[in-house]
Amino acid sequence: MAPMNTNNRERWFLSMYDTEADAVFRFCLVKLRDREAAVEITQDTFTRIWEYISRGETVRNARAFAFRVARNAIADYVKKSRPLYEHDLGEAAERIFEIAVSGDAELQAELSGLLRCLAGLPDDDRELVALRYTEGMPVKDIATERGERPNTITVRLKRALESLRECLGVPARAQTS
């Protein structure tokens, strides 16, 4: 997927940044629950990607690769930084969505509620849910990236959704046919 010469690599990288920056940012935000940290790690992620590309390495699946690099960057950040998850997501959520959905109070409330419930999921499940349902990454790609079977990922997603629905107060009637 990666182009062959220097100019093409630069163009490809900047194009990848344009395409994937928001997805990486959301991924970091869901993982870290801290907007400032998410911006910082997004920058770090693309710096790492460029360092990789500039060595002449190639990337097959840009999005999957970006998420993998982001995951590593987050792990490093967590090791170096103060303990995470001290943030009150309830407060943070208002700030996060102030820009995203300004003027739509109902949607903002729904998304804030969703973020609070997401915060209650185990870190790994939160990541799976974000990759699958927010970023639309195929289960097969997620499984390949993590070295797991697609069925295993599917079941974990299912359980995570159940937890989310319970937290969101979705009536049981709507969950089963």
């Binding site: 997927m1 093409n8 997004t42 949607l107 969703l114 069925n151 295993t152 359980r159």
Partner: protein, 303 residues
């Protein structure tokens, strides 16, 4: 609270970097590109380790051959043409309907991929991936500025084609006794469809799977098998015809807001009704038609 958790999760896509953050980051990365230019360590350039002899590029011999051979310019031209072609194909991969390279994506890239998909399983996998692509394209366009009627029709036809291809190949796999592969492909497809219920609704396509609850092979985790059997979350890929009709009626009453309806169909719009609120699976064993297009253009595909 919104009943459709998947749809609400998809609407998290509204979270984006602010323009200021994006431009600032872009500026820093552009600076990084200038400070840290490409330094190939892989074959293709000379790379000299400390105290070691330079490693000659494999192109060195090729260049020497060009110097000796009068046909070299022709070969070079071919190489350049192929390189340019691959660059176009690469760029086309990210194209969406309306982009100048989109025809290259669907008429060249995907046709080439189809030519290389020889086995039934490969064909089924490809058709599933292409269906997922069409859904992603619709989602991408919706997050930008909405879908025109023409684009909607194009995506709808293409998606229906991929779904029918998947169905055909899955059936063929089953007829060959390869039920496990067929189930995996169906699981993948359901997952893709389940991630975009609002788009299916908007495109007026409903998909149903027969007898899949007990088909799921979760043998690697028995506890999870028990938890998952008989439950319907994995079945969030079937959108009821009633819900579609309901939505269609709403749309018919206001055709002018066609695109807006889709853009705004986030967590609150396009909600399914009653027991179909989560797009639950329903069996339609009595149907003989694989694809059912009614007069209003609704497409129903039964697996």
């Amino acid at each position: 609270m919104n009943e459709n958790t998947e749809k609400l999760l998809a609407s998290l896509k509204r979270i984006r970097l602010t323009d200021e953050e994006r431009f600032a980051m872009h500026g820093r990365l552009s600076g990084l590109l200038k400070r840290s230019p490409v330094t190939f360590s892989s074959p293709g350039r000379l790379h000299k380790a400390k105290g070691a002899s330079p490693i000659l590029s494999p192109f060195t011999n090729l260049l020497a051959a060009f110097r000796r051979n009068h046909r070299a310019p022709i070969a070079l031209g071919l190489i350049l043409m192929l390189s340019a072609g691959s660059g176009v194909a690469l760029a086309a991969e990210r194209a969406v309907p309306g982009d100048i390279l989109y025809p290259v994506k669907v008429n060249v890239d995907e046709k080439v991929a189809a030519a290389f998909a020889v086995s039934t399983e490969a064909k089924a996998n490809l058709a599933t991936r292409l269906a997922d692509r069409r859904l992603d394209e619709a989602a991408e366009l919706s997050s930008r500025s909405g879908l025109s009627t023409r684009t909607r029709t194009e995506l709808k036809e293409r998606l229906a084609g991929h779904l029918n291809d998947t169905k055909k190949h899955v059936a063929k796999l089953r007829s060959k006794g390869r039920s496990r592969e067929a189930r995996e492909i169906e699981t993948e497809l359901k997952s893709s469809l389940g991630a975009h219920p609002d788009i299916l609704l908007y495109l007026d396509i409903s998909v149903s799977f027969e007898d899949v609850d007990n088909d799921l092979d979760l043998s690697d985790d028995e506890d999870e098998v028990h938890r998952s059997r008989g439950e319907s979350d994995l079945n969030a890929t079937s959108i009821s015809s009633e819900a579609v009709s309901e939505r269609r009626e709403g749309r018919d009453s206001d055709d002018s807001s066609d695109d807006d309806a889709f853009v705004n169909s986030g967590p609150r719009g396009g909600r399914h009704s009653g027991d179909d609120a989560d797009g639950s699976l329903r069996k339609r064993g009595g149907r003989s038609k694989d694809r059912n297009d009614d007069d209003s253009g609704h497409i129903r595909i039964n697996f």
